[in-house]
Symmetry: C2
């Protein structure tokens, strides 16, 4: 099977560690390796090196090359980020030329998975189901009443692959409120939307023709230029005009084809904020529940997260439940439970003429 690591994102939720020039998937936050490298290691459990692709923004191509000395996956570059539909489409037209019917696992480069073996088993089962041309997605069994994720509502069991049951998808559900999320947790019919899809190039390109015809047309134009001298020029021209839309919104919510869902249980997080990162690294807390990454000292401080990139010492005194991020040109001090608002700083700093730190 094929695998596509979608590494084109450029979030600002980990500012000031993440920047436009170094988005989250290139940070060493979940381990000593970047999230991109972690994802690649996971993918190699089920895909051969010559069948692994990554899609990155051209601005980060150099960065990716630096990370991957050998065993480089095929890297496709996008001139600008145009969300997941375009990213998936671009890789699909390239893979289609090699084998249009072989399943492809599309995986975000910036997710955390605790149990990589379990992850590989689920992907293999999903690939088996996708061989018939079906659209497969992975839904994560909720472990808490999370209001920060979208959900997938599932219906009856639709079949089995490698002894794993899969279910008919009823619909995508936007981020719920607390009461609704609690109902989902106990109801058993709602799973977190992982953003992980498994289907063949033929299947996804067919869906684009039906759901996103303008994108499909653009992809045909790029495809016809593959191997030609003007490929980059065509790519740039098409990316200039195509719509920025997610695969969830542009295809999965609109398609009339059936979508099938595997229930996944491999310890998953989209690591959407400093707080989410703090929570998933519980094993590294000190006795006062501080997570100290970097050179930090603490007196009477509890439940804090220090992420220090530089040689500088970070000293905490009497504070609780803070995230402190120290980088060479910016320092963040925030309440951990406000860390979803961190992305406001890059905007604010740009408006103040400090794009250098945004």
């Amino acid at each position: 099977m094929f695998a596509v690591i979608m590494a084109g994102g450029s979030g600002t939720r980990f500012w000031p560690a993440s920047r436009e020039s170094v988005p989250k998937q290139f940070l060493r936050i979940t381990s000593d390796r970047t999230m991109f490298e972690e994802t690649l290691a996971r993918v190699r459990l089920f895909a051969a090196d010559d069948r692994i692709y990554s899609v990155v923004c051209s601005a980060h191509a150099e960065l990716v090359r630096g990370l991957l000395s050998s065993n480089l996956p095929q890297t496709l570059t996008e001139p600008v980020g145009r969300n997941t539909a375009a990213c998936i489409g671009l890789s699909a037209i390239h893979i289609s030329r090699r084998d249009p019917d072989e399943p492809i696992a599309f995986l975000p480069a910036d997710h955390f998975v605790a149990d990589a073996e379990c992850f590989a088993r689920t992907i293999n089962a999903a690939a088996e189901a996708a061989r018939s041309g079906a659209i497969i997605t992975l839904g994560i069994r909720p472990t808490r009443p999370e209001t920060g994720y979208g959900y997938i509502e599932i219906g009856a069991e639709a079949g089995r692959a490698r002894n794993e049951p899969y279910f008919r998808m009823e619909r995508f559900v936007e981020k719920p409120d607390q009461a609704t999320a609690l109902g989902y947790l106990t109801g058993g019919r709602h799973l977190w939307n992982s953003g992980i899809f498994v289907l063949s190039a033929r299947a996804i390109l067919r869906e684009f023709e039906n759901c996103l015809p303008a994108l499909a047309e653009g992809l045909r134009e790029i495809e016809s230029a593959i191997g030609r001298a003007d490929y980059s020029e065509v790519l740039g021209r098409v990316y200039e005009r195509i719509q920025s839309v997610s695969i969830d919104y542009g295809v999965m919510e609109k398609t009339s084809s059936p979508v099938f869902v595997f229930k996944a249980d491999f310890g998953w997080s989209d690591v959407g904020s400093w707080q989410a990162l703090y929570e998933l690294r519980r094993a590294d807390y000190d006795e006062q529940d501080n997570l100290l990454m970097g050179d930090a000292v603490a007196i009477g401080a509890k439940g804090n997260f220090v992420y220090a990139e530089s040689e500088r010492v970070v000293a905490l005194l009497g504070v609780e439940n803070l995230i402190v991020v120290d980088t060479p040109d910016a320092v963040l001090v925030a309440r951990l439970d406000r860390s979803q608002d961190v992305k406001k700083f890059p905007e604010m700093l740009k408006a103040r003429g400090r794009s250098d730190v945004a």
Copy 2:
């Protein structure tokens, strides 16, 4: 009259901005000038340039020379800090050769004074009273039940100078508890000990003979070497052996001579912590009571104090009542009301082999 700026201190209460190499009096924390420069400007309101002395530790002599391009006060260096008694003694033996009976105002270099004109008037009145050979100190009228200061208990009015009454000192009182401090505030007989003294060289050297005979002997030895080639060597030898004691404890609490007190009202603070500094710079707060010194941005943050020395941006999100200090090699994040414990970090860091940031 003479003035002596006592700049030999080396506190760590403003770590990481203050270090052994750059103590508080050389920080620009109360204005755009260092506290040393502020003190010098204040002193020039009542003393002629050629009658102003400063006493600094030899480790800081270069730093002081850098601050004072012209109008340099006579600078006396101490090989090591030996507290206020030695500092006062050293300057007294030098000034004694010029005029043993002229009053000298001894002033710490690291105090804040809001009303410099009022300060100068009080010092002039104190000098008038000191011309008779008396020991004069300044007591600050308390404005809150402060438990962080020592107090002076005063008795009956003892006389007037330049129309200002002065009082007999009854005794020095150590830092009181909250209830006692509240009693002092309303009782009217207790003043904050300012650490500012006015008396002649003859008077203070006489007190040393009575109260600190070993120090007096050492001072005579240094005095005999003034102008000789071996002055530095003698100074070093004497400083090696003499006791480190404050003028309050070593002389003022022990003397059998009367001590007189002027009540002062010029808006005084010893600026003993980041919290004290935050409180006295109320005029510079933003609308959310943040005091932002340096390049800082805040979202939903209240009552914080950012002191950023570098070009780095400091971003605050949702936090309250913190002190954040950013320096090139260390960052402090502390609760403002715990800022008296900041001095623990240099010790802790030294113990961990990080003397470079202590």
